[in-house]
Symmetry: C2
Subunit: 379 residues, 2 copies
């Protein structure tokens, strides 16, 4: 089976995706037919240059005064972690075993959130917000927040991506705003959405792996934990959920620290010794089409004001033969895959059903069916 999986990883690149690490670039938005045929149907990413330079957000949002003024009456959701790693595997302080850590989410006036994000290296200075040092803030609520918490900014971006909407036959299911700094990373994961990702300010760096490479990410179950803020110590404390809940998550950190790199390579040889992930940096004015079910790792470089701002459009995906093939592939055991099999994802659906909505839809068949039912109702 090892040989067959390696052939799959190689063939999908030779046939369709390309054998370099580069993502195909288009100079201008494609027709809806071309986008659908060459990218969505093929489940292949692309970057569209010069796609959003005409959006008011591109110039307006580089100015903090504009954002603070427009959102002066708004309180927004902010995700707080000690180190910028939310929805990520971190060692539990008690026994150093890995757990799946969720951020501490709180609401605060937008101006305070922006201060926290933009301050030196993103460390909060405790400017009257009741948070101590050692806190990394990230506005990244993935619940259609751009059309809710940030609705006053609606006129600055297009409500949807016209050629994508036409191709996919529906309006976006969710539009999300992301404001973070260089410390925030998003660990490897996949979403059950077609994703159109737009950078407004700063840079976003993506590592991408196709769904065919699922075994190379070593998806195992980790106990769920979340940060909570202790007013006494003014610190974020990580606590395991009770009763325990287990979240399937990718084990690979693509950027291990120099002193752990050998250890990581020996733990995850399928990732480190296999084909390199596709790699791209997204600039203001560009759109990344990030196909459904693709694994992605995201990091960012801030603009001159210390923050990276992005907007992404999630469109419902089709649960078609590609998805059925993926589920089958994921059910196959690779001998180097380690003790926890991917198959177990489906063996204990209840452990997953209580995850956040995003995790839910990413990891359960029932999520897929729900989404599909919704699709057909909206069609």
């Amino acid at each position: 089976m090892e040989q067959q999986l390696e052939t799959l990883w190689k063939e999908v690149r030779e046939l369709s995706l390309g054998t370099s690490v580069e993502v195909e670039r288009l100079n201008s938005p494609p027709s809806s037919l071309r986008f659908l045929r060459d990218f969505v149907s093929a489940n292949k990413p692309c970057i569209i240059s010069d796609a959003t330079l005409h959006w008011p957000a591109i110039s307006l949002w580089s100015d903090d005064k504009y954002l603070r003024g427009a959102l002066s009456g708004s309180s927004v959701s902010v995700h707080l972690t000690p180190d910028g790693r939310a929805d990520a595997l971190v060692p539990h302080p008690e026994d150093s075993s890995l757990c799946f850590a969720s951020a501490h989410v709180c609401r605060m006036p937008f101006s305070e959130a922006l201060d926290l994000i933009s301050s030196d290296k993103g460390k909060g200075k405790g400017k009257g917000n009741g948070k101590g040092n050692g806190v990394v803030a990230y506005c990244q609520e993935q619940n259609d927040c751009f059309r809710n918490e940030y609705s006053v900014l609606a006129g600055d971006c297009e409500a949807h991506i016209p050629w994508a909407t036409e191709a996919l036959g529906c309006l976006p299911e969710a539009v999300n705003l992301w404001i973070g700094n260089s410390l925030s990373h998003t660990s490897f994961h996949k979403d059950h959405y077609e994703n159109l990702y737009v950078v407004v300010s700063g840079l976003k760096h993506f590592l991408l792996l196709p769904p065919t490479d699922v075994h190379r990410l070593y998806i195992h179950h980790y106990p769920a934990a979340s940060y909570s803020y202790s007013p006494d110590t003014q610190e974020l404390i990580l606590e395991l959920e009770k009763p325990p809940r287990y979240v399937p998550w990718c084990s690979v950190d693509p950027y291990p620290s120099p002193d752990s790199v050998h250890h990581e390579i020996s733990k995850f040889p399928l990732y480190f010794n296999g084909p390199k992930p596709f790699e791209c940096t997204l600039r203001p004015g560009e759109i990344l089409y990030l196909p459904s079910m693709w694994f992605h790792h995201v990091s960012q470089s801030p603009d001159g004001r210390g923050r990276t701002i992005a907007v992404n459009y999630w469109y419902d995906m089709q649960f078609d033969i590609k998805y059925a093939y993926f589920k089958f592939l994921q059910s196959i055991h690779h001998p180097l895959y380690g003790p926890t099999l991917s198959q177990s994802e489906d063996k204990d659906p209840l452990s997953v059903l209580s995850c956040s909505e995003r995790t839910d839809r990413s990891n359960t068949a029932s999520g897929a069916y729900e989404a599909k039912e919704k699709d057909s109702k909206e069609a």
Copy 2:
């Protein structure tokens, strides 16, 4: 692995194809975007009613005089077999082991071919054509014959299917004409093309299985043989090719004779005990979209003049992630699959490379790459 494959067969139906044996029907031609999104991208068949009733062929070709007149100066390719089974597995007369039999192909004036096809039960009466009794004739040269041998009829059909051409981004690679009678069958096989199939007169009956079900067809290697006509005995004689050549072909006959049915079921349990194939009958005026890589078995019912006439449009397919998934699936061994593994298809590519062009492109990775290269040149 048995369980995982069964889950795949079930899930692709539950998620996308439907769990009945019916093929989805559209009342009128879809937009190119809908066709691409809901059917091509999803690799899902559909039937479009009332799609070609306006074609001159629908009325003109019901009249033998019109066809004989138009083609009076033409000689056409005719495939001759003793029983209507060409490109099919038949017992070799010497030892009764199965071989892959190709028809005897000869050229004759169109009028003679039509006599052979339309005569009682399709049996040739030897009307001056030099062929004896016991011959079933089928005009089915799959080499773009409609635009070559039958080019005088070009004005009677559309040169391409406009919404399919727009969706697929290219003109048809081949357009083929099929004139046969009730005795001709096409055994289960797949083509590396997107296929738009049009019935002009009579009925065509299809059994369809998705590419996910590849193990259920028991593709094994069979020695190639072909019929040749013996003027002495006025019979078709089946002879094994020398040197031997082996062709991978589906082993399942979906309509076994009553006295062999139990034997066939015990030989091919994955087919007979698994989900039933999709089933449809195509009438004049209708188009079947037969997606690339779908296995299909075709039989026919004649019109009042004893023949069935169809035209099909082959469009180049995309060799994308779906194709990579299929190749992977096909490389997996099912314990009930029998002694000859599907993997062996790729182990001896030379045995396949010398097949006919259609078989070539259907069964070799090199065929896939060639076709892909061609695609990109034409784009």
